[in-house]
Symmetry: C2
Subunit: 298 residues, 2 copies
């Protein structure tokens, strides 16, 4: 019988689990809201994982591989970041065994990466697993983009991270929508094409975000700009800032590979075209399953 | 007997009232939390103002001059923005009488300004009153900076607004402190000199805020940067963005005039020095009282 493994993508707010075989097929999947913050303390992760296993009907001998915030200082067990120089395909040799696993099988956490440049650092936890999948699928070079709450732009060369920049795009959008000066005008359709394009344009000008955000409001209250485009404009402003920064390192006509849901990937494809770049998309589910299959011991 | 007027600086969250004579002396002052949002509806502003008058022991014949969000669409009565071309000293000719004043005396609202540049707009409500005071005190030319929740940078030429840029500095700082990825590390001393200077430096590089903010966290979790400097760093990053943008229009060694509380003015003076600018400070209380005295009818 084929060997299988339970992959758990354990994030801050949610977790997703997938039962995966050596051919990267997904045999079962499960999702709930028991992210790191909901678990409520280090000592409860074991029981929480056991609950997930039971809910999926998986027996207690199944090996488990976890990635994401579960390996952070506020997670189950802090796992040191790998240095960016470690090739992604070497991740299976750097797994951290969980000291207090809830059952007899092997439980491991995938380490994140830290990318240091002088006194400055950027980090990832969880995205390294996606990147490994992309590399195994042949995407060993070029710019990979993982959009979301914290969008990651990663430059790979022969499967090694050469550059990492994180943008708090989704988090800032959510904050601005939830309260403050702009929130009353953030209810519009974020995919409004004209508003999104205007935001991308503005991002290319390079003025400070604290100023351009205020001008969204100023435009509406002075009746210079339509309120219903404000949300799409802010989305364009934040996503455009990623492209404007990355464009410094990317040749015109260069290609980015987006690993993201269809809705987000579409928005990034529009932005790529706006900034004169090519865009290809990798399915995050396929990429994840491919990565996890690499952790099955032969 | 000398003529007096009641000036009310009626903002979003708070209001401040000052009884002022023709020589710009402040004879009484009052402050409470009955800002625009607390009043709870347009029809309640009259009673709210009457309550303020009673609390100050001011009789019902006193003229009242109000500025700030009281004149916005969510305030007592919406007052159209003046065009930036209207000289600040002409504000007394553009006051909007309040249609439903609570007592017999004259109640007026000072209009804000809209500054339009192509399709883009910036606006102020309340700061125009401060600017009038500065102009009357002789500050008719150059860059005036009004730091705060929404920092305003205004270029005056002969008492006319030539440029206006608003930065959501205080609002973004408060949002980032209140929740999200950075909040747990925002409790440090915002006046930490090394952290503030490092933030100013980073702002000068011009990378997107959504990225530099994440790197604050990345620096701390990867042990590249001290957590206790994070709040001062973010303050430097946000204030520095104002200076980096303004520096494009300001000659090296140029002077800015800050109208702000001593604590904020000190921080802006440090930033000015960092960016090679001179900084002088005007007391906001004196500036406000000077402006309000201009509205006393001779």
């Amino acid at each position: 019988m084929d060997k299988t493994i339970l992959g758990v993508d354990w994030g801050t707010s949610n977790r997703r689990a997938y039962l995966i075989d050596q051919q990267a097929n997904c045999l079962a999947e499960y999702e709930d809201d028991q992210g790191m913050l909901a678990v409520g303390g280090r000592e409860r992760f074991g029981a929480s994982l056991d609950g997930l296993r039971t809910a999926m009907g998986i027996d207690a001998t199944m090996p488990v591989i976890m990635s994401g915030m579960v390996g952070s200082a506020s997670g189950w067990q802090e796992v040191n970041y790998l240095d960016a120089a470690v090739p992604l395909t070497e991740l299976p040799a750097h797994l951290a065994p969980v000291a207090e696993a809830p059952w007899s099988a092997n439980c491991h956490i995938v380490p994140g990466y830290a990318y240091r440049r002088g006194p400055s650092a950027d980090v990832m936890r969880g995205e390294e697993t996606q990147l490994l999948g992309a590399v195994v699928l042949g995407q060993r070079d070029g710019w990979l983009v993982l959009p979301g709450t914290h969008s990651k732009w990663v430059l790979l060369q022969d499967g090694v991270i050469q550059s990492l920049s994180t943008y708090m795009t989704g988090e800032l959008f959510a904050m601005l929508s939830k309260g403050g000066t702009l929130s009353s005008m953030m209810g519009g359709d974020t995919s409004d094409a004209a508003g999104f394009a205007a935001g991308l344009d503005q991002a290319g000008v390079g003025e400070p975000l604290s100023n351009t955000l205020f001008r969204v409001r100023a435009g509406v209250v002075s009746r210079s700009a339509p309120a219903e485009q404000a949300a799409a404009f802010v989305s364009g402003l934040l996503i455009g800032a990623e492209f404007a920064a990355a464009a410094r390192s990317l040749p015109a006509g260069g290609t980015i590979t987006v690993i993201g849901s269809p809705a987000l990937a579409r928005r990034y494809a529009v932005a790529a075209q706006h900034f004169g770049l090519q865009c290809q998309v990798l399915d995050p589910h396929r990429v994840y399953c491919t990565a996890i299959s690499q952790f099955i011991k032969g």
